[in-house]
Amino acid sequence: MAPGIGKGANVTGVIAMSTETTKPKSFQEIILRLQAYWAAKGCAVMQPYDMEVGAGTFHPATTLRSLGSRPWAAAYVQPSRRPTDGRYGENPNRLQHYYQYQVLIKPSPPDLQDLYLGSLEAIGIDMDMHDIRFVEDDWESPTLGAWGLGWEVWCDGMEVSQFTYFQQVGGHDCAPVSGELTYGLERLAMYVLGIDHVMEMPYNDPQAPIALKYGDVFRQTEEEYSRWNFDVADTDMLFRHFEEAEAECRAILEHPASDPKTGKRIVMAHPAYDQCIKASHLFNLLDARGVISVTERQAYIGRVRTLAKLCADAFVQTEAGGYDVASAQVPA
């Protein structure tokens, strides 16, 4: 177990050490504080996954690493895309591209709630002044064949995070269970910084020589992508790419584990999973273009789920997924 995670972690001590309770000044400072906090708690601070995904959960560091018996602790920012949420940068809090902060710890430590609350203090939320609540919200991802129990966390009536104990991913029971925390960064930051319109939020320090607001960075891209997502994306091409990604995912996994060139056992779970992620995002794009009917929707979601399950099946056949190379089997 990484130091700091699990029993005996001293939440208040870390906060005193890192930030006192000064208010952060910018969007990026909040991210930096979260990174520092979770690093201090022993998480591997990872980088965003280099593909288009709908949420931080899709990062293999969560989806795949929540499977199998090996301990894991990771924290990272993940840019997330939800094409249907595009509002041309005009809506105060809806974006088709936004950031999630994601923490995954396996097995879930007994003091995960306290660790989480510590992270809120770290970004300047004073527990004595705010009303923090854990409100039932069970999580389910039909595309990932995954579900868990947990809460949405409210701060003064606003949802600031999703807190989930994974029970199943890709159709596999999670044992041990991972604890997952997901922070919607823009919304959380707007709240902490007291900003009403996301585009007005300071991105870097407002005192910096070149002070940038969120809108300076993203207003234009929101416009461009909103137009493309809703009206321009070539749906024939998207449909074709969906089929191709699906076919490639299956094809990758049909290869025998043993690599003829190196003679090694190489199960290609991650490359296959990349194709699954692709298919999922292509589906989201098609959905935003409004070309998928209600009945077809279920069928497409089912197809992505099938891929996710195949990838999960493959991952538990790998070393990271708990496969024991010496005995050549998956431990019970």
Binding site: P110, D128, M129, H130, L149, D156, M158, Q167, A175, Y191
Partner: protein
């Protein structure tokens, strides 16, 4: 005698599960304790977002000693038999006693069990209860295998009496029971030990936890009312929300906030729904204007600034939510004012059910049926059709997409904005009703026509594709729809041949289901049948009339074996009968709830006319009331007696006595009186039936009671004289026939 205190402290328990969980904890623990011999004086269970607590008072300190004697085999029985007995009784060979009995020497086992201390039993019972707890959903966490609703952190389990407090020794998957708990997550101090329930409850309160959900709810309701009152406003009560909110906080702090001026023009239902669904806010109304002007939120913490920061945050979230709602409302109003055409067009691409087609197709069917039903409900046909065409337009609106529970209500607002007549707008709101047994039936004639058409379209549609409810499965709420039809018909005392409308609409569904493969000729023929059903009453007659006409026509569609028309023609009557029987089943359930026996309805149904539900119910009610009178009950006995004698004689003689009773063969006064009574009653009954006055018919029937009783008292039916006997049997047959004009009394029990 000791008191037992148990507290299971966990991460936050979903509010909706808390009450039930507390009850389950109490029931499972106390049942198991009593089962193990530990009786008690009283028990109470409590829940908060983080804990389930059980307090049991005056528990036995230990279970009583028990002594049981078991008789075994004879002493000289085979060794195998004796071994078996030893195993069963759980005793050793030398513990058996040999006793002399009349059957020889028999072995007896005396099983004595010492009572066990409460702590031991409590530990076992609690472990079993925790491991098998009936959470609606439970989970694992960390590396363990224990399941609980959310991670379980600690178990407090103590027994206390005058001598002091002892902790029950128990360890479940590494969680060791103790005498320690902790208070409020944010306002509480360090963990503390407790020595009994009173101490526990008091210390919790000191540490900002109100243990009792009822006390928290009272506190919230009181403070909320006071805050509203002080501002000259009133709280919109919501019991469900109150219970939920009481389950979200351990230390309720009630705060009232403002709704931005910008949002006050939104419909009050939208404000209320948005605030309740998203924020769990109560609404506060201005009693003078009926407008929702403020909100009440319940925090879980007291702060230095008296909740100012919390309230500001909540207000901000609300403003964001309501800007969304306002945006939807304004966009929707624009579409509505333009006549809602855009929404109706959209519904052409929304599937209702794969086989039954799009929402637009469904609306077209409902409109057609609503028009046909209009005369029955007393509505203007044009208006009924128009109402049906726009009633579901709001399904495309942004507001209903966001808040599906506002469907219908938004329809009314939008239909008003579109300038439709008030009846049409009202139908948009009311046509889903009644949604359950206690929901109101729509009032207006237009609303009723659309409501009936909507439900009948659903029922005939799912019957046409053979998706009927089975057992507990009724995914399309067809039972509710049928009950809705029944309640609307009865509420309006509507006289209609239900099967005629069922046939009509089933044929329309069949036409829709086959449209892709049907020829123009076939489509036209089915259309013709649909229109003729109203004339002929039912499908069969209309179908044959149309087919007859077709024969002479050039290029008439195929009607032979295996043809589309023949297949439809064969299917519709069977499906229709089946659906009508489903209506009768639902009717029986409905009337049973109102205290009318199902056999009474069966008796009335046997006589036909089951397609006229309003009349059927009037007849059944009259019969039910009649049977409760002395006359009615006696007449029923008389009828049964007549029927039994007659049936036996008919079986024995192999003939049916149904004709020719003649007063000239009447020997006794009683017979003559009965003849006279039947002569007098029969035309009265017939007239009453014709005049649809079942009570009058039954009163006429009641006039037969005394003559029938007197007849059976004085007359031997199976007389020696064959002429007399036959005449009397024929007379009994008249009694039977007369009674059966009103209802099939043979169906009645008792």
């Amino acid at each position: 005698m000791p008191d037992l205190l148990i507290e299971l402290l966990s991460e936050e328990i979903p509010a909706r599960m808390q009450t039930r969980a507390a009850e389950d904890l109490k029931k499972r623990m106390t049942d198991a304790l009593v089962e193990a011999g530990l009786t008690y004086a009283g028990a109470e269970a409590f829940s908060t977002p983080r804990r389930l607590t059980l307090a049991v008072h005056d528990l036995l300190a230990q279970s009583p000693d028990t002594r049981e004697e078991r008789k075994g085999p004879r002493a000289d029985a085979p060794e195998k038999a004796i071994e078996g007995f030893l195993r069963g009784a759980g005793v050793a060979r030398d513990a058996l006693e040999e006793r002399e009995t009349p059957k020889g020497n028999v072995l007896f086992a005396v099983i004595e069990k010492k009572g066990r201390p409460a702590a031991e039993i409590v530990a076992e019972t609690l472990e079993t209860t925790i491991r098998n707890f009936p959470w609606p959903k439970s989970m694992r966490w960390g590396s363990g295998s224990l399941r609980w609703v959310r991670p379980l952190h600690s178990i407090l389990c103590i027994l206390s009496d005058e001598q002091g407090t002892t902790t029950v020794p128990l360890d479940i998957d590494g969680i060791e029971a103790g005498n320690v708990t902790r208070g409020h997550r944010f306002m509480g101090g360090a963990p503390f030990a407790v020595n009994g329930f009173d101490d526990y409850e008091a210390k919790l309160k000191r540490d900002h936890v109100i243990l009792s959900p009822a006390e928290r709810a009272d506190h919230i309701a009181q403070d909320a009312q006071n805050l509203a009152f002080a501002a000259g406003l009133e709280l919109v009560e919501d019991k469900g929300l109150l219970a939920e909110v009481a389950g979200l906080v351990e230390w309720p702090v009630v705060l009232m906030g403002e709704i931005g001026e910008d949002f006050l023009a939104l419909p009050p239902e939208v404000l209320q729904t948005s605030m309740k669904e998203h924020q769990k806010f109560f609404s506060v109304r201005n009693p003078k204007t009926g407008r929702i002007e403020r909100f009440i939120t319940v925090a879980n913490i007291e702060t230095k600034d008296n909740g100012a920061t919390i309230l500001a945050g909540n207000q901000k979230v609300l403003a964001a939510r309501l800007s969304d709602a306002k945006f939807f409302w304004e966009n929707d109003l624009r579409v509505a004012r333009a006549g809602m055409g855009e929404w109706l067009e959209k519904l052409e691409n929304v599937t209702f059910e794969r086989q039954l087609g799009t929402q637009a197709m469904r609306i077209a069917r409902i409109a057609r049926l609503a028009r046909a039903l209009a005369p029955v409900t007393g509505a203007d046909p044009d208006m009924a059709e128009q109402a049906a065409r726009v009633a579901k337009a709001d399904l495309s609106s942004e507001m209903v997409y966001e808040f599906p529970e506002l469907q219908g209500l938004m329809g009314r607002y939008y239909a008003e904005a579109a300038g439709f007549p008030v009846e049409v707008a009202q139908a948009a709101q009311d046509h889903y009703a009644p949604l359950g047994p206690s929901d109101d039936v729509p009032e207006g004639a237009v609303s009723r026509a659309v409501a009936l058409a909507d439900k009948l379209d659903t029922l005939t549609g799912f019957w046409a594709i053979d998706e009927k409810p089975t057992g507990s499965k009724d995914p399309f709420a067809l039972r509710r729809a049928a009950l809705g039809v029944i309640r609307i018909i009865l509420a309006g005392n509507m006289r209609l041949k239900l099967d005629s409308f069922i046939d009509r609409h089933l044929t329309l569904h069949k036409l829709g289901l086959n449209r892709a493969k049907a020829t123009t000729g076939e489509i036209d023929t089915l259309e013709e049948v649909i229109e003729e059903i109203s004339e002929h009453g039912v499908f069969g007659a209309a179908f044959h009339a149309v087919l007859d006409r077709l024969k002479d026509r050039d290029g008439a569609p195929e009607t032979g074996e295996g043809s589309l028309l023949r297949t439809v023609g064969d299917a519709v009557p069977d499906i229709s009968t089946d659906l009508l029987a489903f209506f009768h089943d639902r009717l029986k359930v409905h009337l049973r709830d109102q205290g009318l026996r199902h056999d009474v309805i069966d008796a009335c149904l046997e006589l036909g006319g089951g397609d006229d539900l309003a009349m059927l119910v009037r007849r059944a009610e009259a019969l039910g009331a009649f049977l409760k009178t002395e006359d009615g009950d006696n007449l029923l006995q008389g009828f049964k007696r007549a029927n039994n004698i007659l049936t036996q004689a008919e079986e024995k003689d192999g003939v049916e006595y149904s004709f020719g009773a003649d007063v000239k063969f009447a020997e006794t006064e009683e017979e003559k009186t009965l003849f006279a009574a039947l002569d007098a009653a029969t035309p009265r009954i017939e007239a009453a039936i014709k005049g649809e006055n079942p009570t009058e018919a039954l009163e006429a029937l009641a006039s037969l009671r005394a003559p029938i009783d007197a007849f059976f008292e004085a007359v031997q039916v199976n007389a020696e004289n064959e002429v007399l006997r036959r005449n009397r049997l024929n007379l009994l047959s008249r009694i039977r026939a007369t009674c059966l004009k009103i209802a099939d009394l043979t169906k009645l029990q008792g």
